[in-house]
């Protein structure tokens, strides 16, 4: 339907413009006040470079988490689904904690993200294996397996944290810092790798987004409309887990984005995933860049920054409540 396609294009362009505007503002604001003219005059090195990298990472991870949220909410047909529901975050947290507590994380800037990503990957494989029943991947089994594996990883993490001595107190601080989620990025190649994986993932998900419309109807109706349901589930499971895993590996656990942005965009734009998915990617980018801007400036007096995960939680909750009250949400989807 050409009107629908046109509407989608307009929405995406509009959101893109909002993103550019928000990103532009974000770059001129931070812990230290530098007049915009001076900042630009100095060129890409220095503070401008730091902020551009932050904004870039915010765009990438905001998009990744939102798309993962859209995917999991559609495939699991559950309004509480979000990027971390299938245990990926707990596995990544465990991987990161191991990297930190063994002291390897100092060796190279890649060790921590690699550990986190490895944890995410292993969790994904474990959940898939556990949820397999008779050659199929039933949705309720996926959810259950994800929650169980997540809980086990979480308790292992707690065990590690509790037995670490104060000698590793700095390491404990690291773990907590990492668990709160932050967008500090210091390595260009890490940023590039994350951006590459996310771009590919979001592009693929957008192309396949029509299948999510069918999945939402239910597995049997979707099959009757010609969808290869089991294969689709696996593709989206892997896609969503990779997007969540790479986000967690790069930035720690930034919560709320993947839950709130899909719901908000669905309330505004409707449930057609061909629009919803790319729009959520852009909206998530806007949200995270905005939240990070707040995180970078609210404590500027003491020269420090808040972890962005704190801001998303504080911003996201009330915003969502306000939206819920405005619209009579009969069906959540």
């Amino acid at each position: 339907m050409s009107t629908k396609r046109r509407k989608r294009t307009h929405t995406i362009v509009a959101l893109g413009l909002v993103l550019v505007a928000v990103a532009a503002c974000a770059v001129f604001v931070g812990t230290v006040w530098v007049p915009p003219g001076e900042l630009l005059a100095r060129g890409l090195g220095g503070t401008l470079g730091i902020r551009l990298a932050r904004v870039a990472l915010g765009i990438v991870v905001g998009a990744a988490l939102s798309v993962a949220g859209v995917i999991f909410q559609a495939v699991l047909r559950n309004p509480l689904a979000e990027p971390y529901v299938l245990g990926v975050s707990s596995g990544a947290g465990l991987g990161a904690a191991v990297a930190i507590l063994t002291g390897w994380s100092v060796v190279s800037i890649w060790v921590l993200p690699a550990g986190a990503f490895a944890g995410a990957l292993l969790t994904m494989l474990l959940v898939e294996r556990l949820a397999r029943i008779g050659g199929r991947l039933p949705v309720h089994a996926l959810l259950l397996a994800g929650v169980v594996v997540g809980a086990i990883c979480g308790s292992l993490l707690m065990f590690l944290v509790s037995t670490a001595s104060m000698e590793s107190s700095r390491r404990l601080h690291d773990i907590v810092w990492w668990l709160l989620g932050n967008l500090q990025i210091s390595d260009l190649s890490l940023l590039a790798a994350t951006a590459g994986v996310v771009a590919a993932g979001v592009a693929l998900a957008s192309v396949l987004s029509r299948d999510l419309n069918l999945m939402v109807l239910g597995e049997e109706p979707a099959a009757h409309l010609g969808l290869g349901v089991e294969r689709t589930k696996i593709v989206f499971f892997v896609l969503g887990s990779m997007l969540a895993g790479v986000s967690v590996a790069a930035c720690g656990l930034i919560g709320f984005v993947g839950l709130i942005v899909p719901h908000t965009m669905r309330m505004i734009l409707g449930p057609d995933h061909r629009t919803l998915l790319p729009a959520s990617a852009l909206a998530g980018a806007v949200f995270l860049v905005a939240a990070d801007t707040v995180a970078r400036t609210v404590l500027a007096g003491s020269g420090t920054e808040l972890p962005v995960g704190v801001v998303t939680a504080l911003l996201g909750g009330p915003f969502f409540i306000a939206l819920l009250r405005k619209r009579r949400a009969v069906a959540w989807m």
Binding site: G226, V229, M333
Partner: protein, 280 residues
């Protein structure tokens, strides 16, 4: 010419529990078949096996001569066969038109959007199902009967040659019960649409289905022209209750009447005389 749908010694079920046992059924193109039987006799399971979503543990299912589970992809099946299920859970807020348009999916290219042609077909399907005026309503905002018609429209938008329905009239009022089945009859006679429908209401089945298949405990116990299958003895044995079969004077089709047993039950008037109006 191949049969529209052919089941050959199909056994299937859930979690190693057999629900359908060794069923063989041949549906020719242009047939209008009613499938009836007591609860739990395997009707819905049979429909699932026939529509390609429940692979049988033994036996084959053929659609227009080709093996559904070995030779056809779900997309190929969906271009020819569509299904109206019973009571689809609706927790999504697609509009009726969006829902009906999803019926076009098997005919769209892999990454394509719907064309004007697809929109026209969807609109025609909605007109068939008499829900055109609800096109922009979210599916969650319509009544049960309207929802059933929306799903029928979606199935029709698939341009099927074979249509399977599971209790398509369970939530409909009298007008819409008759209207829906008349519609299907028209599509069957005019366009040659093959229809297989599970029916609870034996009289509706009798009016519209040329052929009736009766199932019990996973097996077919009767299969043939409706008049020959709907016998008093057969139905009494199947449902465990007495019936009286006559003819509908208006249409000449079989009509099944209930004969509940009332032996030994006091007549309604008697009690009043005994206890002075306390009972009613």
């Amino acid at each position: 010419m191949a049969n529209a749908l052919e089941l050959d010694a199909v056994t299937c079920g859930y979690d190693a529990r057999e629900v359908v046992r060794g069923v063989s059924l041949a549906i020719a193109e242009g047939d209008f078949v009613g499938l009836a039987g007591p609860n739990g006799s395997g009707k819905t399971t049979l429909l699932r096996a026939a529509s390609g979503v429940l692979a049988p543990s033994s036996g084959t299912v053929r659609l227009l001569g080709r093996d559904v589970y070995r030779d056809l992809t779900p997309r190929e099946v969906a271009r020819v066969l569509s299904v109206v299920s019973q009571d689809v859970a609706v927790d999504f807020s697609f509009t009726v038109e969006e829902l009906v348009l999803m019926g076009r999916t098997p005919h769209l290219s892999r990454f394509g959007w719907e064309s004007r042609h697809d929109l026209e077909i969807a609109q025609a399907a909605m007109a068939e199902a008499e829900i055109s005026d609800l096109a922009d309503r979210p599916i969650t905002d319509v009544s049960g009967g309207e929802r059933q018609r929306a799903f029928l429209a979606m199935a029709l938008a698939q341009e099927p040659r074979v249509l399977l329905l599971d209790e398509p009239t369970s939530h409909l009022d009298l007008h819409h019960q008759v209207a829906t089945l008349s519609r299907l009859e028209r599509l069957n006679r005019r366009d040659g649409l093959t229809v297989v429908t599970v029916m609870h209401d034996l009289n509706l089945a009798a009016e519209f289905c040329d052929r009736t298949v009766l199932m019990n405990a996973g097996r077919i116990v009767a299969d043939g022209p409706t008049r020959d299958v709907l016998t008093e003895e057969g139905l009494a044995a199947l449902f465990g209750t007495s019936v009286h079969v006559t003819e509908n004077p208006a249409t000449g089709r079989p009509h099944v009447m209930l004969v509940p047993k009332r032996d030994g039950l006091p007549k309604r008037g008697d009690l009043r005389q005994d206890d002075g109006g306390q009972n009613d």
